[in-house]
């Protein structure tokens, strides 16, 4: 039954990566907002970029949790 376990692990890791969906959408929205802000007020580009990157990092963290879970399923379990 070992190969069944391997297959189930692969499925589990793939399902864990579904968690990257939300952060992807979130980062897209964030960059959209930042780009609009920069377009309207190009002088504020510096401050907007810094805050945008910070926001992206927070959203990205969720995707990385999903990645870590997937890696743990594949290589540790």
């Amino acid at each position: 039954m070992e190969e069944l376990g391997t297959g189930l692990k692969a499925i589990g890791a793939g399902l864990a990566m579904v968690g990257a969906f939300g952060p992807g959408v979130g980062i897209g929205l964030m960059v959209q907002g930042a780009m609009q802000g920069i377009g309207r007020n190009p002088d504020a580009a510096g401050a907007i970029q810094t805050n945008m990157i910070l926001g992206i990092v927070f959203a990205e963290a969720v995707a990385i949790y999903a990645l870590v879970v997937a890696l743990i399923i594949l290589f540790v379990l």
């Binding site: 070992e2 190969e3 391997t6 910070l54 990092v57 990205e60 963290a61 990385i64 949790y65 990645l67 870590v68 890696l71 743990i72 290589f75 540790v76």
Partner: protein, 517 residues
């Protein structure tokens, strides 16, 4: 020669180089040199350098590849710092050279950010800024140092034990065998990653390394698994061996074209032999002597003589066996049969691994950052800092402001989110860097060379970004901890009733506002 012709020539040369590199890996190496691709090391815990030091229980903890990676990063930082000091003549040069400008760029950028987020009180200047800058520079060195050629790739080559995945022991006449062999790492010595390998697996792999077997593959209908047989009336060890040899041969006949040219000779500690028969495939044979050795405890069928005495004869290859017992036809495939190119892979346990690909380092740094945050919060605000978590003030005012209870409950949630900082900081760094290593290893495994260089560029960006993110988040969390919300609440609470909610929300949204203003 026109520009188009030159471009055409460049394109053709580029494609030829890529194809050549790919062929070198997938055709030249196995066919000519008889060596395989090393399996990338994918393992979460660091490998120990020394066995049983300082004690057998603790040898995982102190001297391992994490220490190697961290020391390498430290040395890189020190070299950069001393070189920057030399380039700038001990920071006396007024017009900076290139190296001094780079060092000043890093420090100035970090100091500007620190000032912007946390102000420039003496404590920030003398404690927070040096720590944040050190975190950034150390992590940058650790993350970029892992991309230096040799790091994560130079180490001890050792065997990956062959572990078949199949329906173990399924006799071929009972159905199809669906499993395919896979490879796992099963070794446990110092600098050997994975779980324990068997002595047999090592013996096979080492004889493979020294003799470079090639061009012999095995069609094993049992996929290297153990094979057992349940005896029926009249079985002897001879008949069982013959039965399984025939069964194996029948399977091979169906699947393979038969040719008569002999294959290349095999020389190893096991056997010297030239195969004939099936091209590229070694035959699977079972011998009664091997079965006898494997089944010393098997019972022969009792014989009854004319006078009614029952005797049990000694076990030989021709003895009729007692029905219903289990005979081991073979345990696992041994010797040259198992030692073929396709079913052996090697792996490298590197001497130095990227420091941040180890959760121990990132977790340690995150706990350190957490302590730093709490220290700054407590030393700036005093005991009032704890009101952020257990809002006694709101509880005390509950009589006049019942909605203040919400603040109290929110404070409890703050505790969770505060502890979550440890997890978020450590796992973000670990996940990004470890995934980068795996990505690079997988691309190396798929394309060999040239194409993975693109991943290196990505890794440079990710490594720099993650180092900056760790340092900046520590800085921002600390700045956040030094701002008192309760104080603002108290000031405006009595005079402005309705405006309070907005003020409160604004304070949360822009934590650094209070300090930088």
């Amino acid at each position: 020669m026109s520009a188009n012709q030159r471009g055409c020539r460049s394109l053709i040369i580029t494609i030829a180089v890529i194809v050549g590199i790919a062929l070198f890996q997938i055709w030249f190496l196995p066919k000519v040199l008889g060596t395989g691709v090393t399996l990338p090391v994918i393992t979460v815990p660091p490998e120990k350098y020394l066995e049983n030091w300082p004690s057998p229980e603790l040898d995982d903890f102190f001297v391992n590849t994490l220490l190697g990676g961290a020391l390498m990063a430290d040395i890189m930082v020190l070299i950069f710092a001393f070189s920057a000091g030399r380039w700038s003549n001990g920071w006396t040069k007024k017009i900076p050279g290139r190296g001094q400008a780079a060092a000043e760029l890093v420090v100035d950028g970090l100091w500007g950010l620190t000032k912007q987020q946390a102000g420039h009180s003496p404590k920030v200047k003398t404690i927070l800024f040096p720590i944040v800058a050190s975190l950034f520079v150390f992590l940058l060195a650790a993350n970029w140092g892992k991309l230096i050629p040799g790091v994560e790739s130079v180490g001890i080559l050792h065997c990956a034990a062959y572990k078949p995945v199949a329906f173990s022991g399924l006799p071929i006449h009972e159905g199809n065998i669906l499993g395919r062999p896979v490879f796992t790492l099963r070794v446990s010595n110092a600098l050997d990653v994975g779980t324990t390998g068997t002595a047999d697996a090592y013996h096979r792999c080492e004889s493979f390394i020294s003799h470079h077997y090639e061009d012999v593959e095995l069609l094993d209908p049992f996929y290297d698994a153990a094979v057992t047989h349940t005896t029926v009336e009249g079985d002897t060890l001879d008949s069982i061996a013959a039965q399984y040899t025939t069964a194996a041969e029948e399977t091979m006949k169906d699947d393979l074209p038969q040719v008569t040219t002999p294959n290349s000779p095999i020389n190893s500690g096991y056997i010297t032999e030239t195969f004939e028969g099936y091209h590229g495939w070694a035959p699977v044979e079972f011998h009664a002597e091997d079965l006898l050795a494997l089944n010393a405890g098997a019972a022969a069928a009792p014989l009854t003589d004319a006078e009614g005495h029952t005797t049990t004869p000694a076990l030989t290859s021709e003895t009729v066996l007692k029905p219903g017992q289990t005979i081991t036809v073979r345990n696992e495939l041994l010797g040259y049969e198992a030692t073929t190119f396709r079913n052996q892979l090697f792996t490298v346990a590197p001497f130095v691994r990227g420091a941040a690909t180890d959760l121990n380092l990132t977790l340690g740094l995150a706990i350190f950052s957490f302590c730093l945050i709490q220290y700054f919060g407590l030393s700036t605000l005093g005991p009032n800092y704890l009101q952020k978590f257990v809002n006694i003030n709101a509880l005390g005012n509950a009589g006049t402001r019942p909605l203040g209870i919400v603040d109290f409950v929110a404070g409890i949630f703050e505790i969770v989110s505060e502890l979550g900082k440890i997890i978020s900081l450590s796992f973000r760094l670990f996940g990004a860097l470890f995934a980068g290593s795996i990505l690079f290893a997988v691309f190396l495994f798929l394309f060999g060379t040239f194409i993975p260089v693109a991943i290196l560029f990505l890794e440079i960006i990710v490594g720099g970004a993650q180092a900056a993110v760790f340092a900046i988040l520590t800085l921002i969390f600390t700045a956040q901890a030094m701002v008192s919300h309760a104080h603002d609440d108290h000031d405006h609470h009595d005079e402005v009733g309705d405006a309070h909610v907005d003020e409160h929300d604004g304070g949360h949204g822009q934590p650094a506002h209070g300090v930088s203003a």
